[in-house]
Symmetry: D2
Subunit: 337 residues, 4 copies
């Protein structure tokens, strides 16, 4: 069954999402077994396979992207996710101007609502740069007006806003958020290692994690790193762990040559039997936006499936894939980027 997806914010994550789906389409048309596709947790969620995503609307404020079909807009600078050279067939999904701030007032909402309605979008994916709470609020209202479910990839507060959540519920719509947990990131690996040590009776002396990258996200993080640092430290919290011994640096700096690749260095110093030292050094290198797209593909399908299944409001099956789900819904595991 097709899933009609609209997207606000045509950045690297969307580039990874669009190209990835076409990559898998090609693999399958070449006879690959759906069960053995690399990088996919579940080929099918509810009635939706990975290939069933149909891009029906897109919004951005970058004049270099507006007016382009989505398969071209995703390759426009400053996007620097690699061009996988997939010869994606031309689509009818033309990027439109999204909402914007004009003299302190949100503008352009009506056009977005109409576009969502005309496109009969079932889910709106919110994927703007981090830190724009007003925009997140505005797009959530657009989704409500257009009768569209909402997925929030960012740390902005949407699903955790009880008033908003209630509105989605009342209109029989689903909302998924906030802040996606990376498919395979430094935080989850760091946590697994710390858990292992503590479970085995070792004592943690100290540990640090520093992240480097070259995309727009890293430039932001170098400046507003404190919130992110706390969020990432919380992702490591557990009984028996003194967080004062944990140092997390979300962005150690921008390394332009990394582009959309991300490198994390982890160090763990611990004590084993008879206080003898144990040390672990890790270098993790990943494609930053693939790490997001590999989770987004599940989030949007979970939202649509929940709505189809008559379960409006927050989609609790998504909790494990989020860093900050609504408070009542505690994930069994918090996994960070």
């Amino acid at each position: 069954m097709q899933l009609r997806l609209a997207i606000a914010g045509i950045g690297n994550n969307v580039s990874a999402l669009v190209q990835g789906i076409h990559y898998y389409r090609r693999l399958l048309s070449n006879g690959c077994d759906p069960a053995s596709l690399p990088g996919i947790r579940k080929f099918r969620i509810g009635e939706y396979s990975v290939l069933d995503i149909e891009f029906v609307a897109g919004f951005d404020v970058d004049v270099g992207k507006i007016g382009l079909p989505i398969e071209k807009a995703i390759l426009s600078l400053p996007n620097n996710y690699p061009d996988l050279c997939l010869d994606i067939p031309p689509s009818n999904c033309i990027i439109r101007e999204g909402v914007w701030m004009s003299n302190g007032v949100i503008a352009g909402r009506q056009a977005v609502v109409e576009e969502l309605r005309n496109a009969r979008a079932e889910v709106l994916l919110y994927s703007l740069p981090t830190g724009l709470q007003d925009m997140a609020d505005a797009y959530a209202e657009c989704a409500l007006d257009a009768d569209t479910c909402f997925v929030n990839c960012t740390p902005e507060v949407v699903a955790r806003n009880p008033a908003l959540l209630k509105k989605f519920q009342q209109r029989n719509l689903c909302v998924v958020g906030d802040d996606l947990a990376s498919q395979m990131g430094a935080s989850v690996l760091h946590r697994k290692i710390i858990d292992l040590l503590l479970d085995r009776g070792l004592r943690l002396d100290s540990t640090y994690q520093v992240n480097l990258g070259g995309n727009e996200d890293f430039k932001n993080l170098r400046v507003r790193g404190l919130t992110k640092e706390l969020s990432k430290k919380n992702a490591l919290a557990r009984v028996g762990l003194d967080l004062a011994r944990v140092h997390v640096i979300p962005s150690g700096g921008v390394v332009a040559s990394l582009a959309d690749r991300k490198v994390a260095y982890l160090n763990v110093a611990a004590r084993g039997w008879a206080n003898t030292p144990v040390s672990i050094d890790v270098k993790l290198e990943v494609q930053d936006s693939s790490n997001a797209a590999g989770v987004i593909i599940d989030l949007v399908r979970l939202a649509a499936a929940a709505k189809g299944g008559g379960a409006p409001g927050f989609c609790s099956a998504a909790a494990d894939l989020l860093k900050s789900p609504p408070a009542a819904v505690l994930p069994t595991e918090n996994a960070g980027p």
Copy 2:
């Protein structure tokens, strides 16, 4: 309650065990909280705390160790576990000549049995170098004759020998084995990382693990590495993992300067969303024999507690701490050195 422990094979593992217990004794007498001792999984198992181990007999065939009290014998070459300089008070536990091979015949068993009886040993810990099945058999028979439980740290077949196991059971004795799983080793870390990748939908391209060390064990492993390689690869086995993509080198070579330290290098190459590469490089450095002693301390207490609790035969609570428990007892997790 005191646990009267006898030991066959006074190598690095025993050095770590004896020194570690004295180290913790000192910490506690300095007012440390038993719950926060570094390197201990459980301070108390059954009625036995970590401090309740009393060394009552020791056996070796090295003339440099025979006749010495245990606290001195553990510091004799070729042992190279560090001297923790703990000023261990003199003990009455004098190392005696153990069983040996004379013209293809086992000799010295009777003296060992008598020593075990005189010492009223409750548990005999078997900790000879790997590869001496005849010795393992001989010491197991000694334990049976002396009415002593048996803990086998090595890969030799003892607990997995149904005939032997039955004898221990019939005499209301416990046996724990075979082959201890390290407290914090390369295999368990490697496995956690592979599990994480596969659980998240990534595909493993290839992975390797190479171990370096400087103690006697590493010299043996460089030669007879194949069995160990298979054992370590099995410790990584799981559904969805093609073992042909896994390369494990138990001993990449001897680095004398490492002494009893062990270094493992791990590399994992995988594929995430849209087939983009993920790579993980790990360096793990541990004190090899502390890794054993931190598990031995639990194994001997589990054996004594099981006997005290009237549960003779294999002590199933120990299965998770062993690499090769009897076939009927499948560990929930196999963790290697």
Copy 3:
């Protein structure tokens, strides 16, 4: 021959310098061969051995340090160089209040000059935190007034100030500066690796260096990193190297648990024969302030020896140990921290 040394700024570098000299004194009194002391480039420079440094005066503005003898002041917070527990014998070198800024005017100069004269200081070592050009100027004038040579460890402009340099020359005094090059730092290692690649015909694709530490210096660097980044990139400059491919992050962030240790991660991606990839990953861990003290010990002796040898002005023999010597004196090799 004794070298009467005064010091402005009693931070970690001075802690390393004072403790190190006492450490070597102890080694030698235990019979060590002067030629085999660890961490010393030259045991003797001119007439001065490493042990000939006599601390005769010290200045700081930290009330926690003023009034203490130097061997105690060096252990006061926020200094966090390790206490090497050397039982340094009590000295008569009491830390005095140095120059300070009062309503935009430098104060306290006259007292400093008198202290330098009373102490008959031959060399004044300037070792304040980076960025205080006014203080560097003030102490240089004090040195001139007190007839004392001057060594500037910091990036402030002193030896490169032609007017100042001329004054030192006219009074038959020596000046050494500016900005010491670490004894064994990330920049020099990075440079050696890049040189090796280019000399062998490989092409550099990209390279980065990120530094982590836990002392006061690192907190400063995270903020004012740009100048330092340029300085460190310049240290790597050479014919055939496109600096746009080089990314240097002087402080990726503060990791408090590192204290005065410094960690640098280096990555080099290059191309060899047939464009096949070559990659190099390095982790370097050093004691940050030992890296400075191991060079300071040479700089102060070079200054005194040059004056004794009748060669006033900039001491050209020090050029290789400095990052920014006067322009006319090009070092054969620029080595950074």
Copy 4:
């Protein structure tokens, strides 16, 4: 000017050599600047550019390679250098059966000599697997009989055999050998780091190097590693370095998935000022056979140029590119694989 090259042993090194030359040909025909080709030390040596190598004869004993043109033979198993997919135009250089051992007697020499003469080969490159001294001798005699210069890539003794060397000299032929030094290998990097430390006055505590690979060479090395270990340790020798503190493991084991890639792990533990520890960890990953081909391209041109220049015998300009040149010719730097 064309250089007519014959080759004995069509392994990975030759695959890298042949494909690399075609790769550079393509770059140049696309307008690349000869001065900026990646992986080339000198585009022109004497009258020969990198593109001037013409393959005129090839010898092997593998029936899977004999009869194939060289551009196909290089891609036959067990060769596992990557296929660079260059669409090399068909050549007339058909691989012929080389010399072989028949009942302890060398056979096939006459056919090789005739083929060399018919092909008017100027240089014969000897590139068989390590350890076949009889073969090296036989091919050297073939070269003498056919009036061809000789380049020996392997550790076999040819240039160091005074009798052989004299024969080449008498016939106005050049010989280059023995054992090429890699273009960018673990030994040279290891040496640079050790040199840096010692030059700066640090003391080496201990250092190790372990190499991993997946080609045929690594399977050999795991077994006959001792000679190689000594050779590699010698490459690190210098005044002030205690070789007992140096551990080199030429092959830590075979990792099939690496194929022709090679990974080296280096660790250096040293002491700086005040005996504070310095540690360096390096991971180097290279294309093993590109490392050879990037040097072979120079060796064969040096041999031809020396002959053309009327300088028969050992070509001393090649000494720096060799691990074991004739004793009289000491390289200024010994660089290992």
